[in-house]
Each structure stands twice: as C-alpha cells, then as structure tokens.
Symmetry: C2
Subunit: 425 residues, 2 copies
C-alpha cells in the first residue's frame, strides 16, 4: 500500500504520562488514537495487526475442536443475579438501565451468557463435550486505565468455554487449550510462562496465567529458572512445561514450592491469557444440566479460557522495540516490507521504487511522500516493518538497493531482481 | 464439517410471536439464540454467514479506496454534546455512567467518534480525501425489538465516513460507495432499490436508502416500475440507476415525482443500507478543519454510509426460503453441500458418505447422525445448503447418489466421482 493512500497519522510527541514503550509507539506510529480514558480507535495499521493476531488465535482454536460463536456485549443483569455475581462483581462492571428500566451490563466476561445458551439446548451426555469460543470486545471499568491498549477499558478478548460430562473431560479440554496457547504464542514470536494462579472473580479451583516476561510488566511471576527454556523449546510437551514450577504472586507458596532458592527467579510479566477449571461454579446455579448414561440429571462441568487479543498487541511491542520504534516480528507485521525512496527527484530511483512496490504491493508499505530522507528513514524505523528497502545513492552509483533488517539493524546491498524474489518468498 | 462436531441446536417449534420467516428459520436452524429482548448469540452456522457477508463488504469497501478502522462501542457523552445531538437523540441511545460518574453512551452510530479521530490529525487539503470504515456492533434501544435479528437492539453495521475538501469531492465518495453497494448486494444475490430518503436523525441533505423488496418488509418504497429491472442489470451504471425514480415514504412527493401514475409502484422493502451527504453538519460544530490551497481554514465536508450486516442475514433469508426452510445462495451459504446418508447401517453407503465428505470436507456439512431418514432430510432442508448429496437406495441399487438443488428442488442421479468433481469445482 502507498503511504499516501493509507491513514497513518504518526506523532512526534506524546504526553508525559505515557511511560511504557507500547503506549508510546502505538500512538506515535499511528496504530491507535485515544477517544477517551481507556477507549481507543484502532487505525488501519493497528487494526491489521489486531486482525492477524485474531486469525492466528482462530486457526489454533478451530484446529483444537472449538467452534466460534459470538455473544452480545450487553447482557441482562438477571443472568448475573442467577450466578450470584451481580452484587459481588464490583465497580469494574459497567451497569446501565435500558429504556424500559431493565438493568443491563456491558459484559466484562461471558460465563453467564454462554451458560444461558448451552442450557437451552443441552439434553444428553451424548451432546457433550461442547467447546465454544468467541472473539469479542469487553468492557472493564478500570479505576485507572493506563498504558494505552495494555490496560484499556474496552478491550478485545478471545474467551472460550468448555462443557464436559466429568472432571477428566474438562481436563482434556483444559490441556487442549493449554497446548493451543503455546502454539499461538510461539506463532506470535512470544515465549510465555504458564504460572499457577488464583482464580479470583471467575471462581473455580485450577487455573493458570500466561505471562510474557518484560521488565515493564505489572505482574510478578515466581518460577524455576528452567521454565523459560522449556517454553522456548518447540518440542516441549504441555506436561513437561506444567511440571516445572511457576506461580503468580498470589499463588506462590515459598514454603511448599519445592524449588531450591538458588533456582527460583522472580520476573515481571504481562498477563496475556488465563485458563480456569470452573467445575459447577456456573452450571449449578444456572442449571446447565444433562442426562447422564444412567438417565440421571447432572450439571455439566465447565472450563473457561481467555486470551487478551488487544493486550497482545501491546505485549508484542513491549518485547519487540528499540529506542526509535517498533520491530514487528514478520508473522504479525502490518506489512512485511517498507519501501523508502530517498531521491524522489531522480527518475531512475522513482521508477525502481515503483517497480519494487508493484511486485510486492500487498506485502509492502511504500513511502511515496516527498519528505526529506531523514524524515522518511525515521518514520520507517518507527513503523517497524521487518524489512526496509532503501533506494538512494547506492542505486545511482551501483544499481543496487539497500535491504535493512529492522530487527538487528544489519543492511546489505541487493540487485533489484534478487531483492524482489527474496521478499516475495 | 461433521454435524456431530458442529453446534447446531435446531428447534422444532418457535413461540407464536415469531411471525416472519427469517426470525423463525434463524432460530429453528440454529443460526442464533436469543439471550434477551433484541439481544442474540450468533451460533456457528449463523456466524459463518455473518462473516461471509462481512468479507464481501470488506472486499468491496477496500477496493473502493476505503480503509478499515475500529472505533470503541462506548463513547463519552461529551462528544455528543459537541455535535448537539446528546439531548435530541432520544431513548434509542443507551446511556450510562462510568465509575467516575462520567456520562457515556453505547454508540448507536459513530459520526462524533470519527470526527474526533480525524480532527486530531487533519492539517491540510493535501490530507484529503480521507475515507474510513468500520464493521462494528451498535446498540439502539428499540421500543419494540422485533423480528429477531431483523431489528435487534445490538446489531452489526458497516459504517463508512468520507472527509473531502468540497462538495464535488464528497459526491465522488458518495457515488463510489453507491456503486460499491450495488456490487455488494449483487454478490449476496440481492436486488436492492436505491430510494431517495429523508436523512432523519443523522442530518445532512442528500440521502438514499437501499431496500430489498419483500412482502414482509416494514418500509414502503415508491418507485418507477423500471427500477427493479435496472437494479437487476449488472451492467447498469450508478447514473442510470439514480435516474429512475424511487423514494421512501417520507421522501415521496406524488405531485413532483414525475412518474406516470401507471408506472408508479408501491412496494414493501427491508432497509439494508443508507448513504448520506452530511456537509458540515458534524465538521462545523466539532471543528474538523483543514488549511485549503490558499492557506485559509475550512471545515471538511462529510458523507456517511451504512450497511446493516446482521440485518442482511435476515433479509437474505426473507428472500431465499420456502415452507420447509432456508435456501441459501451459494455465495453466502454456511456450507455449499449437505451430505445425508439415509442408510446408516449399510457399510457401503457409510463408506461412500465418508468418501464424499473427505473430498469436500471444508465445503460440506455431513449429517453423520443415526437419526431417521425423515428427520435427516427435513433437517437438511431446514438448514438450506444449496446442494444436498443423498446416499440411499439408489446407491444400493445403481451405485449412484442423488444430488438435490435446494433452490429449485430438482434432483438428479450422479456417479460418486462425477459428483465430487462437480462439487469441488
């Protein structure tokens, strides 16, 4: 895409209360704009990244046997009364009345809504398991929304729910999702730690949080120093990963963790996913029942599994950036290639830039502006496409273009044909 | 997909207040489930159709030079005060207070939000035109939500906004979208009428509504009897279409319509899209300004363009159904083919069903249940896939399967190989 035909309102400066890199660069690179505290508009480049993460999550959930559905954002308060959470949920839940005076909420999560759907059709143990997920915007009225899309009030989540006949069934679903999450994070270029966690407001008894470790993370994770190596290993099984100690601050038990103090690390992390065994926490009060093999009525047992899709955009920028901008991993970059022509008045350079752009069109962002070389190079570094093709003096002199790897900063000179072939690969 | 691995909770009966076909079949075929008045969960088959419509809309908007963004659902009331709509909008707007007591709304439309985004970056006439769209859930608190997803409270809309230097610029954007809409509706198998309309609560002065004509439609359209033929003609230009009289009830002027009374038809229609010339209705009060060629400050002129994506699912069912179920057009069917094996205890039939399913997997729904032939055939008619492959006595006798065209009910006998080749084409 030509920069002149895209809408990329970059910014030079951001306000002084912007402290983390992902907040700064998501604004400066024109990925998002703030409409109000904790409320953001996703602009073309940001939305492209968000959609790519969605697609990866969707592919892995689909291949794990989960079916996509979509529940409404606005839910009747009565459902939350049935589950006994309406009064306990607290001020993070955005509450309202519709024009008939009925109390409604903007769903901060969907255990009640999914239970309401499934109970309306569930009859027999033969209908189970039921594995459903959605990718839906949620609202949590944070007391202090901060760090931009890292902790916004309206945020995009993939939330999945499993319904099973018995505990073993839920554990199969749980492990299934656990493995899918590692595949997802690896495809995104991330190395998460799966930490035993408290289940908090969601309820239930078994729970893991997935954390991406970065110094700016707001969570604290206690883990065996081997945990990160295991997560990095593509061939490591879920069992191997789960066998190594890792726990969130709330769940960490220094006395009984079984880790030699010399092997215990304390890391800062960003929580990007959370999985829960719910048991009958919702199915009992909400009457999600089926007839078992013996004809007896039983409550379905549930698990729920969330990934913070919009937060992942922030987490990825926290991991992949430097002092001048974003360094997108190729798997989720808005464009694979950025094309910069430094000599806009040179006809040869212009023709070459257009030739390269024509060959790479969909996978490239071509800065076709007449801005100065310094402005263009700085902007392309800020935007962070994995590869930069720079057309300038080397082309005039030697008919070669420069290919810059944004991740490590190395550049090499390439003939145009070879460059196109390589970038198309 | 195997029916046993999909979540398709079909229903035999619906409540007696369900009167239109799309409401009945969207519930009976397991496309959606109601969570509360006007609030629906989209189940796997329904969501597939919704996503396909989204994709078609997206492709045509992208190819028209519009860029996709995504604005938040929840908006600060202050933006609506700036545009002078907060007090006038009425009880259809869902209003709420956040935990700090700030007034917020669940966006019924996004003219304010987009103006807020664009004014933050717009500087020069060189930045224009700016053409943006989103596909986003909206909430309108209908007094009487009815006819299921036809008039739900939470509904999916594609809303596009154009910002231009002058009137001619907006008209180019307007005609651009007008043409894109005809392409979209034709790809969906629909023949809409573009009727001159009042612009109502949105404001502005030039406006067209797009109506799909069906007897159950809630709107009335007055039109030259040639209008429908022109809309059906793929080669007809926007100018030709716009030159033939069509107007909504509010905009119809019997004295000055210029149509011979013998040529004037009155039809019932479903409003599926609406386009508006807004001028400076929002850009003036909200200060969306740029410097023109002479360095003077001017307000950008706007257009806005909506398509009711979730309502289109209902409109398509209203057009494509019969007494026993849905008849999906191939372009948006959840699956192209439904596979039914009537003789589940016959090993040959079973093997053949599995062979056909293996060849067509992603494009077919295979009823692998052991239900009776009558139940299976009725269910497949209800679900409405364009082609049905029926394996039964003809296969036992002559090694052929039946291929049924759901749209016209014709059946023919096919050898398995020929059938697979044809359905894969």
């Amino acid at each position: 895409m030509r920069l002149s035909e895209c809408y990329v309102p970059t910014m030079k400066d951001v306000s002084s209360d912007v402290v983390v890199a992902s907040h700064k660069y998501s604004l400066r690179a024109g990925l998002v704009r703030q409409n109000a505290s904790g409320l953001y508009t996703w602009l073309p480049l940001g939305l492209k990244v968000l959609r790519t993460i969605e697609r990866i999550v969707r592919e892995e959930m689909d291949s794990s046997g989960f079916l996509e559905i979509l529940m409404p954002s606005v839910q009747p308060a009565d459902l939350w009364r049935e589950s006994l959470r309406y009064d306990s949920y607290g001020p993070e839940m955005l509450r309202m009345q519709d024009r008939s005076g009925r109390e409604m909420v903007f769903g901060p999560t969907h255990e009640e809504a999914i239970s309401d759907v499934v109970r309306s059709s569930l009859k027999s143990y033969r209908d189970l398991p039921i594995n459903l997920y959605q990718i839906q915007w949620k609202f949590r009225d944070e007391l202090r929304p901060r760090h931009g899309i890292m902790r916004g009030r309206e945020f995009l989540m993939k939330d999945a729910y499993s319904f099973d006949v018995d505990f073993e069934g839920v554990m199969r679903s749980y492990e299934n999702v656990f493995s899918a999450y590692f595949r997802i994070f690896r495809r995104l270029g991330l190395v998460p730690i799966a930490a035993k966690a408290d289940s908090g407001a969601i309820g239930g008894s078994i729970s893991h949080e997935f954390h991406v470790l970065v110094p700016t993370g707001e969570s604290t994770v206690y883990h065996d120093k081997r945990a990160l190596d295991l997560s990095k290993n593509d061939y490591c099984t879920t069992e191997e990963i789960a066998s190594v100690y890792a726990a969130t601050e709330d769940a960490h038990d220094p006395q009984n963790c079984g880790v030699d103090p010399n092997d215990l690390q304390v890391s800062k992390g960003i929580e990007v996913a959370h999985v829960f065994y719910l048991g009958d926490r919702y199915s009992a009060p909400m009457n999600v029942k089926f007839h078992d093999k013996n004809g007896n009525s039983a409550h379905a047992l549930m698990g729920c599994y969330g990934i913070g899709i919009s937060r992942l955009v922030a987490a990825i920028i926290e991991v992949f950036h430097d002092d001048v901008g974003i360094r997108w991993p190729e798997s989720i970059a808005p464009f694979k290639v950025g094309i910069v022509n430094l000599l806009t008045t040179n006809e040869d350079c212009k023709t070459t830039a257009e030739t390269i752009y024509a060959a790479l069109a969909d996978s490239s962002l071509y800065d076709d502006s007449t801005d100065s070389p310094g402005v263009k190079l700085a902007r392309m570094d800020l935007l962070g496409m994995p590869w930069q093709v720079i057309i300038g003096n080397s082309f005039v002199k030697d008919k070669v273009v420069e290919l810059k790897n944004r991740a490590n900063g190395t550049t090499e000179k390439c003939a145009v044909d070879a460059l196109i072939a390589r970038m198309q690969a």
